[in-house]
Every structure is written in structure tokens, then in C-alpha cells.
């Protein structure tokens, strides 16, 4: 990293005060993998209670945006805040849903075992899981239509069912901010409808969800707001304002077919 990179973006972070109202407020977030910037000086403040789609081409840094904010990858500069405090101090109120491909589904665990992990922080480190915890996890699985599969080894579930297990694990956390990485990727139509219903329910309860999303044609239908990324921030705001033809062409570098563009703008 050249010295200028650090100076410019950390200066941006220092001068930008934390938005105390926002559940999720990132400023100057810069992440580099092997010297190449994956994410460059991103500022974003999510409106409370909004369903936000994070949109952009492959390699735009969408997943890195969530991971950098959560501190899962080293950041060059920038800071992330949640509910007006540094994000690291607010983990109790945040639920993260990683990409389904990021784990080994042959792992010896049942759907209920995985869903129960959502309560580990609430249970406390080194404290045992009680029956009431497993019952709460089972209720979350049931809410996602997975009650009958609770005792299945997770490798024996379909992709959509695995995604529901991940969502149940996040749901049982009873968080106020949900950060989801591609929850719609590779799921069946029924699971997609279940996820949309879940998002709407969370939003109705005043909770906020930041969702990495790859299907441009459904952004308008599923989400309130959008953040367009391509290493840099391209645009952000209510879906209709952010997802304009010009912004999409800038984000995707003119690689979008006319049909995709029409579907995205609606």
C-alpha cells in the first residue's frame, strides 16, 4: 500500500462523525487483498428499518463490504458503526449470514445444531446449551419451514434448505441488524419466497437488513434501498433513485445486456 492511500482514507474516516440514528454506518472503508484494492473508501449510512440490497458485478467487493464492516477481513482504513457505536461493541445486536459456500456442509452437525449456534453469544462462552435454547432454535427452524428437518445432518439438505438453516441461525439471535451475504444464491423458488417473507417480517418489526444480492430483476420488488458497488461506491439511496440506467452502466462497466437493464430499472 502506498502511504497516500492510508492518509487520504483515514482522514475521511476521522472527519466523518458517526450517525447515531443509523443502525449501520460505514465510512472510508478500504480493503486490499495482496496490494490490489478490493474496496475503496466506501461511505454508506443505512436508513433505520430499511431492506438494503448491495448490488454490483462479480469482484465488486460486495461480500468484502460486509466482511470488512464486521472485521472479518483486515481493513486498510475506515470504520464501521452500528447504532451509533463502534460495530465491534454491538455484536449482540447484529446477525451475520455468511455465503452458503463458505462452510463445509459435510460437517458432523444437524440443522438444529447449526441453528442453535445463533444463541451461543446469548448463552455465554463456555456455558452449556440448555433445553430451552434448543427449543428456541427449533422454533426458528419452524418459522422457516424446517422443523421436520431439524435432526437431519446438514449435508443431507438441499441448497435451499441449507440456506434456511443459516437464516434460522440468524433469526434466533433476535438481532436488530442483519448482514446477509447472497442468501438468494442457488435457492429454489419456495425458499426464495420464504426469504422474502422473512425480510418483510423483519422490516415490519423495525429491523434493518443489508443484503448482498445478485439478481438485478428482483431488487425493485424485494428491497427499499440499494447500494451500488464496484470497488468504489457508485450510487446509494432508495431503489428508484439508485438503480438508474446510468448508475447501473457505471457499476457494471457497460456489460449489462439491454434485457437485464430493463428488468433492473423496471
Amino acid at each position: 500500500m502506498s502511504p497516500e492511500i492510508r492518509v487520504v482514507s483515514s482522514a475521511a474516516a476521522i472527519h466523518d462523525p458517526v450517525d447515531a440514528e443509523s443502525p449501520f454506518d460505514v465510512s472510508g472503508l478500504t480493503v486490499a487483498y495482496n496490494q490490489a484494492p478490493a474496496l475503496w473508501n466506501i461511505d454508506y449510512t443505512a436508513p433505520a428499518g430499511a431492506l438494503v440490497a448491495v448490488v454490483g458485478p462479480n469482484g465488486a467487493g460486495k461480500s468484502t463490504f460486509l466482511k470488512g464492516a464486521l472485521g472479518l477481513v483486515p481493513t486498510v482504513a475506515g470504520r464501521a458503526a452500528a447504532f451509533g457505536a463502534p460495530l465491534g461493541t454491538m455484536r449482540r445486536r447484529i446477525a451475520y449470514v455468511p455465503q452458503r459456500e463458505s462452510v463445509d456442509w459435510a460437517f458432523p452437525a444437524t440443522a438444529l445444531d447449526v441453528a442453535t449456534m445463533g444463541l451461543y453469544r446469548k448463552i455465554g462462552w463456555l456455558r452449556p446449551v440448555r433445553r430451552r435454547h434448543r427449543e428456541a432454535a427449533l422454533a426458528a427452524l419452524a418459522e422457516l419451514g424446517m422443523a421436520d428437518f431439524a435432526d437431519r445432518q446438514i449435508g443431507q439438505l438441499s441448497g435451499g434448505q441449507q440456506q434456511r438453516v443459516f437464516l434460522a441461525r440468524a433469526l434466533v439471535q433476535d438481532a436488530d441488524l442483519y448482514l446477509m451475504d447472497e442468501p438468494f444464491a442457488g435457492v429454489d423458488a419456495a425458499t426464495e419466497r420464504t426469504i422474502v417473507a422473512l425480510l418483510r417480517r423483519l422490516s415490519a418489526q423495525g429491523k434493518t437488513a443489508i443484503v448482498v444480492h445478485h439478481d438485478l430483476s428482483t431488487v425493485r420488488e424485494y428491497f427499499d434501498a440499494a447500494l451500488l458497488l464496484n470497488v468504489r461506491r457508485i450510487a446509494a439511496g432508495p431503489v428508484a433513485e439508485a438503480m438508474t440506467e446510468a448508475n447501473l452502466q457505471r457499476a457494471y462497466g457497460g456489460r449489462l445486456a439491454a434485457t437485464q437493464l430493463t428488468a433492473a430499472i423496471g
Binding site: 495482496n34 466482511k67 464486521l70 472485521g71 472479518l72 483486515p74 465491534g88 455484536r91 449482540r92 447484529i94 451475520y96 455468511p98 463458505s102 462452510v103 463445509d104 456442509w105 459435510a106 460437517f107 458432523p108 452437525a109 444437524t110 445444531d113 447449526v114 449456534m117 451461543y120 453469544r121 448463552i123 462462552w125 463456555l126 452449556p128 446449551v129 445432518q153 449435508g155 443431507q156 441461525r169 448482514l179
Partner: protein, 307 residues
């Protein structure tokens, strides 16, 4: 000399070493860090040399303490290379293990102790055969505390390590499952990767160092991996896998000893085979059998092997 004085202490040490290694091996297998044991058994060399130089004896607790310190430092360095240097786990392990092992060799040369201790054979095969307990004459003597002081040094060391690891494993069972399955999610919940890396590597270092002196590096590596990997193929829940690995570890220690020390001479071998070697071979055979069984089961059910 009787069974109680020769075979029993060797079996006791082998079983304790196998249990301690198998327990930790479960975590390493699930985290795909199976070669961590190999790395650790090399990284302890500078610590052993340092312990020898300080104590002036080749048979001292200082060597064990030095080995443990080197193992923990090496584990810390691997974790640091991964986190700070951004190296992938295998590269981090390879860099640290060769650097520390080479450092140990240099220390040996510089201090002119190169011809004194550390015969290669001992390091590879261990010294199970020299584990002798003269005290017991009848079975009930085993439970007589007066005789425990005469136990081979490895036995109380391994028992202590096993007890410590067992308690830690029970206390942190849910955290172990969490970081082994989904380290990113664990970090998002507030359990950072560097802490779990460090604790798991420290546990592995304790098991390796405690077992290394008694059974040598080959059996340490075999006992870390074979029982856990075999149990992994036979079970579908973590608790079942851990219990199965412990049972398999005892079976391999006893079965391997019987194979090498009793069966081989009876079948016409010129002498008893090295016990650690035959246990390691038994471990490989058990893993092969489990893999074949699993492959057959999966073919019948039309599913793929677990990862």
C-alpha cells in the same frame, strides 16, 4: 519380568498418548489442519535443545518444558503468519515448521551437543519399549499409590495432559464446534479467529509434546489423525465422532501393541516389532477400512463422501 512390569506400563503410556492425541485430532481433522501435528513435532526441537542446554541432562523435565514452550511459540507464530502475513494455513505451517526445526539443528551444532542426545530413532519411534514399571507384582499393586512414584515419567505427564485437554474439551465443546464449522460466523459473534487459532494450536502442542517423548513423532502424527479421521467416516454427529475416536485410539494402541509385540514373533518374525510402528500401521489400516465401508455405504445410498 512379567506382563505387569513390561507390557502394562508400555500399554498404559500408549493408551494415554493415543487418547490425548485423538481428542485434539478431532479438532484438527474438522479444521482441515491434519498436518499440524507433523509441524508441531518438528517445531519442538529448538525447545528440546534449549532444555538440554539449560539442565545439562537428556532426561529432564526441562526438555519437556522447553518442547512445550517451543510448541506454543510455534503455534503462535503460525497463527500470526496467517493473520498478519495473510498466508494460507499450509504455507504458514510450512514456513514456521522448517524455520524452527532448522533453528533447532543450528542450536545443536553451535552448542556442540550434536553427538550427545537426540538420536533419530528415539525421535521417530519413541521409547515405549523402555517404559518399565518395576513396582507391581500382582494386579492390585497397580492401584497402590506407593508405587505410582516409580511409574515411567511419561505416564503422569500424559495423564496430566489428558486431564487438562479433557476438561478444556468438555468446557469449550460448543465453541470448538462453532469455530471448526464456521469461523467467520464465530468472529461475527465476537469470538475472533486468532483466539481460537491460538487455543487450538496450544492444545495440539500440549498433546504432541506430552506424547512425543513416549511414542515418537510417527505415532504422534498417526494418533492425532487416524482415530479422528476414522471416526469422522463412521459417524454423523460431533459428539459421536469424538467418543468413537477415543474408542478407536484405545483399540489401536492395544491392538497395535499386541500385533507388534505378541503376534509378530508368534507368526515367525525374528523379534518383536517396534510397538509404535505397528500401532501407526494399525491406524492406517483402520482408516482404510472405514473409508472402504463409507464408500460402499455411499454407493448404496447414492451419496458422495464427506469432505
Amino acid at each position: 519380568m512379567t506382563f505387569l512390569q513390561i507390557d502394562f506400563p508400555a500399554l498404559l503410556v500408549a493408551v494415554l498418548a493415543a487418547l490425548a492425541a485423538a481428542l485434539v485430532g478431532n479438532i484438527l481433522v474438522l479444521r482441515r489442519q491434519a498436518l499440524m501435528g507433523d509441524a508441531l513435532s518438528h517445531m519442538v526441537l529448538p525447545g528440546i535443545v534449549a532444555g538440554y542446554l539449560i539442565s545439562g541432562s537428556a532426561h529432564s523435565w526441562a526438555l519437556v518444558a522447553g518442547a512445550l514452550a517451543a510448541g506454543l511459540i510455534g503455534a503462535g507464530l503460525i497463527a500470526a503468519a496467517r493473520r498478519l502475513g495473510g498466508l494460507d494455513p499450509a504455507t504458514a505451517m510450512g514456513v514456521v515448521l522448517t524455520a524452527l526445526f532448522a533453528g533447532g539443528v543450528l542450536m545443536l551444532e553451535l552448542s556442540n551437543t550434536g553427538n550427545v542426545h537426540l538420536d533419530v530413532e528415539h525421535a521417530l519411534y519413541g521409547s515405549l519399549e523402555s517404559a518399565i514399571w518395576l513396582y507391581p507384582n500382582v494386579w492390585t499393586d497397580i492401584f497402590d499409590p506407593a508405587g505410582w512414584a516409580e511409574l515411567p515419567r511419561e505416564a503422569p505427564l500424559l495423564a496430566g495432559a489428558l486431564l487438562l485437554l479433557g476438561i478444556a474439551f468438555l468446557a469449550a465443546f460448543k465453541e470448538i464446534a462453532l469455530v471448526a464449522f464456521d469461523p467467520d460466523y464465530a468472529a461475527a459473534l465476537g469470538l475472533p479467529g486468532w483466539i481460537s487459532d491460538l487455543l487450538i494450536n496450544a492444545a495440539a502442542a500440549i498433546a504432541v509434546v506430552a506424547a512425543f517423548d513416549a511414542v515418537g513423532s510417527i505415532l504422534v502424527i498417526a494418533m492425532l489423525i487416524c482415530p479422528a479421521a476414522t471416526a469422522r467416516l463412521l459417524t454423523n454427529s460431533l459428539a459421536a465422532q469424538v467418543w468413537a475416536s477415543l474408542g478407536i485410539a484405545v483399540g489401536l494402541a492395544v491392538g497395535g501393541y499386541g500385533l507388534g509385540v505378541w503376534a509378530a514373533p508368534a507368526l515367525g518374525a525374528p523379534a518383536a516389532l517396534n510397538a509404535a510402528g505397528s500401532m501407526a500401521v494399525a491406524g492406517g489400516a483402520a482408516l482404510g477400512l472405514a473409508a472402504a465401508w463409507r464408500a460402499r455405504l455411499n454407493r448404496r445410498r447414492g451419496r458422495v463422501l464427506p469432505g
